[in-house]
């Protein structure tokens, strides 16, 4: 199962003006794999995720999804995005819709499911993340942790093949971090491919198949959690982890 490649990032470059943020990134993601990306602030982790689902346009290199380039002119971007979900640091729930509508809207407009089926599916997912009692609430009436769990349900509702998480817990108060991490853990190893940018080292270690360390626009080191956290080869990795773990 792990042999099938779902996403391949090849020689990816991204510059904003003359500021080169991503410098030749190469990355293979297998189907069903849980990959964590760690690294210092400003190293380009968010930019990498945003290039993967085309919120940013790469300036060089290629990205393959099921071995097809997502950058070619005839590639259906909206269909691709429906299959590659994203969970944002700032939740980004639709402010004009309530919890249930947030989880239904993608299903009905993009996947064209009928309202009843979308609702059943949404309720199932909301129950799983513990947000079923709040179906009528508007996003601004919820805590950050609750909003993020709804956002995860919203992404899941599209039945995506890949889910991207961009620091899903770093905007949360400490006591709400766990409820979100638990939700994510329960998704791991269910066949869903996950790419998680995070500063939660313990979580990354426990849940990932692969951990990538990103430094200044390049992937400095990639390996199993054990390799990265116990026996980091690169000096930059060692320094980062030392600094990071001593802070906690």
């Amino acid at each position: 199962m792990k042999d099938e490649m779902i996403l391949q990032v090849q020689n990816l470059h991204k510059s904003f003006g003359d500021h080169e943020v991503l410098k030749d990134i190469n990355l293979d993601v297998h189907k069903g794999e849980v990959m964590s990306i760690i690294g210092a602030s400003g190293s380009g982790k968010s930019t990498l995720l945003r290039n993967i689902n085309l919120l940013e346009q790469p300036t060089g290199g290629d990205i393959l999804f099921h071995e097809k380039s997502i950058l070619s002119d005839d590639f259906d971007v909206t269909l691709y995005r429906a299959k590659v979900g994203m969970v944002f640091q700032s939740f980004n729930l639709f402010n004009n819709l309530n919890v249930l509508q947030n989880v239904m809207v993608g299903q009905t407009t993009v996947l064209k499911r009928d309202a009843a089926a979308a609702k059943t599916h949404a309720m199932e997912l909301l129950e799983r993340v513990g947000m079923a009692p709040y179906v009528n609430a508007k996003p601004d009436q919820l805590s950050g942790g609750q909003q993020q769990r709804v956002a995860i349900a919203r992404a899941e509702a599209m039945d995506p093949e890949v889910l991207l998480f961009d620091e899903p817990t770093s905007a949360l108060d400490p006591e709400m971090v766990d409820e979100v991490l638990n939700t994510m853990s329960s998704l791991a190893h269910t066949g869903l491919t996950m790419i998680i940018v995070t500063h939660e080292m313990q979580f990354a270690r426990d849940v990932s198949d692969v951990v990538c360390f990103m430094n200044d626009g390049v992937l400095a080191e990639t390996g199993t959690p054990e390799q990265i956290f116990e026996h980091p080869q690169e000096q930059r990795t060692q320094e980062f982890l030392k600094r990071y773990l001593s802070r906690v």
């Binding site: 689902n53 919120l55 002119d73 909206t78 269909l79 691709y80 995005r81 429906a82 299959k83 979900g85 994203m86 944002f88 700032s90 939740f91 980004n92 729930l93 639709f94 402010n95 004009n96 819709l97 309530n98 809207v105 993608g106 407009t109 993009v110 129950e127 799983r128 513990g130 079923a132 009692p133 709040y134 179906v135 009528n136 609430a137 508007k138 009436q141 805590s143 942790g145 609750q146 956002a151 919203r154 992404a155 599209m158 108060d173 006591e175 709400m176 766990d178 409820e179 991490l181 638990n182 853990s185 313990q202 979580f203 426990d206 849940v207």
Partner: protein, 540 residues
Amino acid sequence: MSHMLKKWWAALAVLVVGIGVAGALHRTPVQAAGKDNGEFKVGMEAGYAPFNWTQSDSSNGAVKIQGSNEYANGYDVQIAKRIAKALGKKPVVVKTDWDGLPPALTSGKIDAIIAGMSPTPERRKTIDFTNTYYVSNMTMVVRKDGKYANATSLKDFKGAKITGQLSTSDYDAIDQIKGVIKEPAMNNFPAMRAAIESGTIDGYASEIPEGSSAEAANPNLKMIHFAKGQGFKTNPDESDLAIGVRKGYEYKAKINEVLAGISQKERTRIMNEAVANQPSTGNTGNWFVGLMQQYGGMLLRGTGMTILLAVVGTLVGFIIGLLVGIIRTIPRPRSMGKRGLLRFFDWLLAVYIEVFRGTPMIVQAAVLYYGSAQALHLSMDRTVAALVIVSINTGAYISEIIRGGITSVDNGQFEAANALGMTHFQMMRKVILPQAVRNSLPAVTNEFIVNIKDTSVLSVISVSELFFSGETIAGQNFQFFHTYLVISAIYLIMTFTISRAFRLIEKHMDGPKNYNVMNNQMQVETPHIGGTTTARKDAE
């Protein structure tokens, strides 16, 4: 959808540019746009008694006003009837603002101007005139109990504040008074009479029939009888009244023939009759009841027209604003061809917004209505023209309001919608516009209210909205204060109702302040904010 839209925009742009260019190049007189259908269409203000006024019934031989339930009467109307009869046509009165008369004539909306107009050399450049149909002498109207009531010579008006009607020879004649303070010209006689009563001017230059009418109708006013040789010196060319026609008008000679057949004695008789028949103030009982009885219908129709213009204009303008908002936020397509096309439409929309925000609505209305008739030979219904102008004009403003509303929506909302795989249109409809519209609603309400008030400028194309009706009424009953008080009250009621209604809509859009927690026995856990969080199951 977007294809239709593009075509529509292209057509609009072509129309606007076309009218402008054609209007500039194509200055030759045109035939009546309405063609010769047995009607003799006469333009007049229908608010310049005793020459012409508006009344609500057909008494004393009044003539129906085109596109309204009201009638016009007065010296001009009686002359018009005689001419129409001789031409074997049916007389029709087209009620038109003073400044709208020449363009209405050159564009073929009317066949003749019979409106107490004198054939100045300036006017002769654009239109033609028949022989004199009324020999008029100039006078001055002042306050009866004022400083100038006993004046007998122009010299007595040294230091007096005097005005006259805009673009008339009367106004130019004020220069003959040495040491006079020439006030800016005013638009119409009701306004000048009100200005005398309020003391902002000491008097206005006018013609004798208008002066005697003013005197008869308003006890506070007096017409000056100048001593021989001490009054205004007038050039017959400029002060006698003639009928304006298009250059090369086929019936001009025939009209002169008819005029020659009306003797001086007969003219005096018609004028005396007109002075006697002009609507009286009817000062009986409560002024409000009186006003409503006599003019309630006119006010109601004026109010209805104002509401129609404002509601349709704002609604269509809003839809235009939404469409422009959607188009202008389309992300840059990948292919070069589409990108160029999008750029072009963006540019077109920017031009549209700048042109319609950058020019007064009164000018836009005149260009569309008179310009389209003159240059493109298009005969447009004036209500339709008014609706089109208000809608397009409002659309330009609301487009910018909506654009502001869209930019104020958090960028995360766009990204989340994109990440779900929504198309631009889906994203706009489901996520962005509902929020943008909510953000824009106070500004849109403002536009609506502005439309209620500013549609008053559409009187330039003779649309009888509330303000135009008010002017007409005040011109007849001379009760300026009372009439405009009622008009103000009606405007206030409309605008207040709108602002309240939109408050309710805003509240409704915001939804309830609270939500109900669904107590579902199926639920796995009931998290409370800051309360029990489940243990970190994956902690070491």
